[in-house]
Symmetry: C2
Subunit: 217 residues, 2 copies
C-alpha cells in the first residue's frame, strides 16, 4: 500500500528523508508527538501542524522546505491534524510506503520491482477527497503503466491516471487551485505548495513499520 498526503505530510516526509534524518516517528496528533519527543530527549526533532502552522514549542512545522542536511541523523517526531492519521490507520498493510508527487518516480521504481498488487490510499482532508492526493496517485499509476503491464482494478485508479496525464504540464496551478493548496497558501505557506508540486524531484521512498518511517535502502 502507498499512502498519499501530498499537502503536506508525505511530501514533508520525503523531504526529511532526503535531508538524511534517521527516522520519522508518526503520531495521530500533535500532543502525542510532543510527549514522545520529550521522553526521547536530546536528538529529537519535533515537527507537525495544527491549522497548517507549527504548534508552540515545535522545532519545525509541516513544511517540506524546513528540512535541510543539518538535520541528518536526527529522530523526527511528527504529529498533524490529518495526514499522519492515515498512516497510523494503514499500519496493518503488509508493506506501507509514503508517496507524493515529489517522489512518484521513486515509488514507481519500487512497485515495478516488487510486482505486487498495490492499493494507493489518498488521505484526503476531513473525510473529503483531496485533488493533490489523487493527482499524486495518478502520477504513480501513469508511470507504472509506462514501465510494466498492469491492470487498473477500479474506476478510481483510471480517473487518477487520466487526471494526472491531463494535468501534469501544470501541477503548480493544480495544487494552487485545490482546496488544500488554498488552505496552505492562506496560512502564508505558498512555498510548500510549490515544493509539493515538483514531480519526481526526490529519489527517496519512505517505508513505514510500526509507526516509524525510514528511508528504503
Amino acid at each position: 500500500m502507498v499512502v498519499f498526503d501530498v499537502l503536506r505530510a508525505t511530501t514533508t516526509m520525503a523531504a526529511a528523508l532526503a535531508a538524511g534524518v534517521k527516522e520519522i516517528r508518526v503520531f495521530e496528533d500533535v500532543e502525542s508527538a510532543r510527549k514522545a519527543a520529550g521522553e526521547f530527549g536530546r536528538g529529537s526533532l519535533l515537527c507537525g501542524e495544527v491549522g497548517c502552522l507549527p504548534p508552540p514549542g515545535f522545532d519545525l512545522g509541516n513544511s517540506p522546505g524546513g528540512f535541510a542536511p543539518v538535520h541528518a541523523g536526527r529522530t523526527v517526531f511528527m504529529g498533524t491534524t490529518n495526514g499522519t492519521r492515515a498512516i497510523v490507520a494503514a499500519n496493518r498493510a503488509k508493506v506501507l510506503l509514503t508517496g507524493a508527487i515529489v517522489n512518484a518516480a521513486a515509488i514507481t521504481k519500487q512497485l515495478v520491482h516488487r510486482g505486487l498488487d498495490v492499493l494507493l490510499l489518498c488521505a484526503g482532508t476531513n473525510g473529503r477527497v483531496a485533488m493533490e492526493d489523487v493527482v499524486g496517485a495518478g502520477a504513480v499509476i501513469a508511470q507504472v503503466r509506462k514501465r510494466a503491464d498492469c491492470e487498473l482494478a477500479s474506476d478510481a485508479a483510471r480517473m487518477a491516471a487520466s487526471l494526472f496525464e491531463a494535468l501534469q504540464g501544470d501541477l503548480q496551478r493544480v495544487l494552487t487551485e485545490a482546496q488544500g493548496g488554498r488552505n496552505v497558501i492562506a496560512a502564508g505557506l505558498q512555498a510548500d505548495v510549490e515544493f509539493a508540486a515538483r514531480l519526481n524531484m526526490l529519489d527517496v521512498v519512505g517505508v513505514v513499520r510500526g509507526g516509524v518511517v525510514r528511508r528504503m535502502c
Copy 2:
C-alpha cells in the same frame, strides 16, 4: 441536486422522456416495480434490470435504445439493482433532476437559469465511484462554467470538470473502458454504452417528485 447514473438508469430515463412517455415511476428494486405495474394495469410499461438484463416478464430492460415514440404517453415502472436506488435515496432534495452525458447541456441550461447552489450526486456502483458518472457531472460543471460565474465548492467538482475537459474528445472510449461499460458490454449491450456516451444529444431534463420522474416543461 442532480443525480447521475450514466450507465444506465439516468440515460435511459432521458431516452424514455425524449420518446414521450408520460412519467417514470422509480422503485428501489425490480420486484416493487413489478408489483406496482401489475396494480396499475393497462398502459403500464415495466422496465428494469438485474445483472444488466431485463428480468423475466418485463416489457423492456434498462436500455436507452429500447424506448421509441411508440411508447409515448405510457407510464413507466422502473426498478434496477443500483441506479434507481440513488434516486430514491435523494428524494429529500428540494429540486431533484436526473442527469447524464446525453442531456448534460439541457441540465446545464436549467442550472444556469435557476442560479442555485447545486450538488451533483454520482450514483456509482455497489458503493464504488463510477467513472462515467463523474465524467457526466464534469460535463455539466464544465458547461455551466462556460455560461456563468460559478464557484467549485470541492476538489471532487474540480476533478470532475478537469476529467471531462481532458476526455470529452473520446467519450466512447472512456465509457468502454470504465468498469460499468465493461459490465454492460459483457452482457452483450454495447449499443447502450455507445448511446450513453453521446454528449448533449437529448434536449430533455427529468425532474423527480415523490419518486416519479417527469419531463420538465
